[in-house]
């Protein structure tokens, strides 16, 4: 019998999403591919570079519509980044698209030197990021990428939470004069934002106000923080939820405000607890002398449990239930 495909949301979490009027969108991956194609149709300088990742990057329609604007390099991620850098150095707006696990580990030196140090306006898109490949195991997880790239000078790191943030991140990247890394997963995402929301790189978006617990989350974990805040509200707690879509440069102001105004701060990320969003927020708070109750929720430094992405999320408490329980314990 094949393994059952679990849902990312329990029935209670689904009910909360409905209560919060969240509508299910498409995968950020689909949003990325559609946005890039739309932009590339207008700007012939946009070039996608793939490492046998046209299919997994949902770029087959792009390739059909714009065959002169896609370069296939085969399964060769170091070459992918070098070529993406060379294209950018010669005036192309190049997007290197490859699974985040390979793109940011095998090609790390190319990212550091060819893109960041050489300061070319290349965009690196890490698809199927974090735990998207679930049970395929550690070879296919990217739980190191934020830490690795945070330690490299001259690159913006964007981890969009939903379709809106993905679209805006890709639009930003298409005009950026500096290196940009964007990473996202392949599961369908709830839309979290109101239509009038503005997206600005380096400026986090506050989705919900409250002074009891502040959830500072990034990427595809933001929805779980939002659902947890909804659940906690039923128990009389007002929780703040911040979508920290840009992990670098970090919005220090919103972190400090949360640290000073809320009883506790919980950070949430689809990344190892070392070197990611949580430790970045902790550094901001500590450096400023703010010492709220503080917890980092992410993947611990251990052999990651086997399972599909929703299994792993739940196992490590990245869920409405896990986050709300943690928050309650912290401020009891």
């Amino acid at each position: 019998m094949s393994a059952p495909v679990p849902s990312m949301f329990t029935p209670a979490a689904k009910a909360m999403a409905e209560k919060l009027a969240l509508k299910m969108g498409r995968a950020n991956l689909d949003e990325f591919a559609a946005t890039l194609e739309e932009l590339a149709k207008v700007d012939p300088n946009i070039v996608a570079v793939t490492s046998d990742s046209r299919g997994s990057g949902k770029l087959a329609p792009f390739g059909k519509a714009l065959p002169k604007q896609i370069v296939e390099v085969g399964i060769a991620e170091q070459n992918l980044v070098g070529i993406t850098a060379g294209l950018a150095a010669c005036g192309k707006k190049s997007f290197g698209v490859s699974p985040a696990c390979f793109l940011t580990a095998r090609s790390l030196e190319q990212i550091k030197n060819d893109v960041c140090y050489s300061d070319v306006p290349a965009v690196l898109v890490g698809i199927s990021a974090g735990l998207s490949y679930g049970a395929l195991g550690t070879t296919h997880h990217s739980l190191h990428d934020l830490a690795a790239l945070r330690a490299i000078h001259n690159i913006s790191i964007i981890v969009p939470a939903d379709n809106f943030e993905t679209r805006e991140a890709i639009r930003f990247a298409a005009t950026a004069k500096k290196p940009v890394f964007v990473r996202f997963g392949k599961a369908a995402m709830f839309n979290l934002h109101k239509s009038e929301t503005k997206f600005e790189t380096g400026k986090a978006i506050q989705l919900r106000d409250g002074n009891d617990v502040a959830f500072i989350a990034t990427g595809e974990t933001v929805v779980h923080a939002l659902l947890a805040a909804g659940k906690l509200a039923e128990q009389g707690l007002n929780c703040r939820v911040i979508s920290m879509h840009t992990v670098k440069p970090l919005d220090a102001e919103i972190i400090l405000r949360a640290g000073r105004e809320c009883r506790a701060v919980v950070t949430v990320e689809e990344h190892m607890v070392h070197g990611g969003l949580g430790e970045a927020c902790a550094a901001v708070l500590m450096n400023a002398g703010a010492h709220p109750l503080f917890k980092i929720v992410g993947i611990p430094d251990e052999d990651t449990v086997t399972g599909a992405q929703p299994d792993i999320f739940r196992h490590y408490g990245i869920s409405m239930e896990g986050l709300s329980e943690l928050a309650l314990k912290m401020i009891k």
Partner: protein, 296 residues
């Protein structure tokens, strides 16, 4: 050839902008070797052997082949040169200074506190295209540049210089596949085949033989030349060796070329001359210059 590239594939005839005689280049090479050695001495660090082995190649490139000058360096149609063997940067700095990209006096600041002149190429320096120095990076970058040129039907060519020891980096072979796959006849990879690396002979460290057959097997047009012979270098660098194929030039060179006690000695890979050694080396180069002038 991927179908979508067919309509934009144009092979341009290269244009050359300077015409120096072989003898003028030989005299210049002696001057550049002196400047390279002085720069390494002043920096207290550097890659002497490899700098001297590739110097004649750089001399021919910058004075005969590349459509690159301080005046046109922002032109999108300029030729591109990326030094993949970035450690031999002192020779490149010497050539760029000679071509007027910056004053020769700047060479004295290499590796000094707060100098822009780092011990490997950086774009802070006029004339440098990309930051290199970690090995195995130049060829993939150049493929991106060459592809951009083909996409835009731009007339420029893209050159990179690799060390033979550098070829053990696997990224070169990923790139070698891609260059022939895309039929990048606007791409020229020159291998400074001095047969020595930091540990000793390349054949002992990690043999690359048969080098020419390897590149041919990867779909490249290959030429083997004497990397200190101006006529041979000029001939193979002037135009694509074969339309529809990237060019690999295996330039047989002598590590430490031009200074008797440095030639073919692995310790000069990154050896820095002492006062006395510099004096002796410069004396040898002045003597060579006098002899060359005498012959003329």
């Amino acid at each position: 050839l991927p179908a979508h590239f067919e309509i934009i594939y144009i092979t341009h005839e290269p244009k050359h902008f300077l015409s120096m005689t072989d003898r003028e280049l030989q005299l210049k090479a002696i001057h550049l070797r002196r400047k390279t050695l002085e720069a390494i001495f002043g920096a207290g660090a550097g890659h002497t052997g490899g700098g001297l082995s590739c110097l004649d190649i750089l001399n021919v490139l910058y004075n005969r082949i590349l459509n690159v000058s301080p005046e046109n360096f922002s032109s999108p149609t300029r030729d591109r040169y990326v030094q993949s063997k970035g450690h031999s940067v002192e020779a490149l700095y010497a050539v760029l200074a000679d071509r007027g990209f910056f004053p020769e006096s700047e060479l004295k600041t290499i590796c000094h506190y707060k100098s822009y002149f780092v011990g490997h190429p950086t774009r802070h320096i006029p004339g440098i295209e990309m930051n290199t120095g970690a090995l195995g990076h130049g060829l993939p970058i150049c493929i991106g540049m060459a592809l951009a040129g083909k996409m835009d039907s731009a007339p420029y060519r893209v050159f990179t210089l690799l060390g033979d020891g550098e070829l053990a980096e696997g990224s070169n072979w990923e790139a070698a596949l891609a260059a022939s796959h895309y039929k990048l006849d606007n791409l020229i990879a020159i291998i400074d085949h001095n047969t020595l690396q930091i540990t000793g002979h390349t054949r002992d460290v990690m043999s690359n033989k048969p080098l020419d057959e390897k590149w041919r097997a990867f779909g490249w047009a290959v030429k083997v030349v004497n990397g200190h012979d101006y006529a041979q270098l000029t001939d193979v660098l002037s135009k694509p060796v074969e339309i529809g194929k990237p060019t690999c030039i295996i330039a047989n060179t002598i590590k430490g070329r031009g200074v008797s006690f440095m030639e073919n000695v692995a310790k000069w890979h990154h050896g820095v001359p002492s006062d006395a050694e510099l004096k002796q080396a410069l004396a040898e180069l002045f003597a060579a210059e006098a002899k060359l002038k005498e012959v003329a």
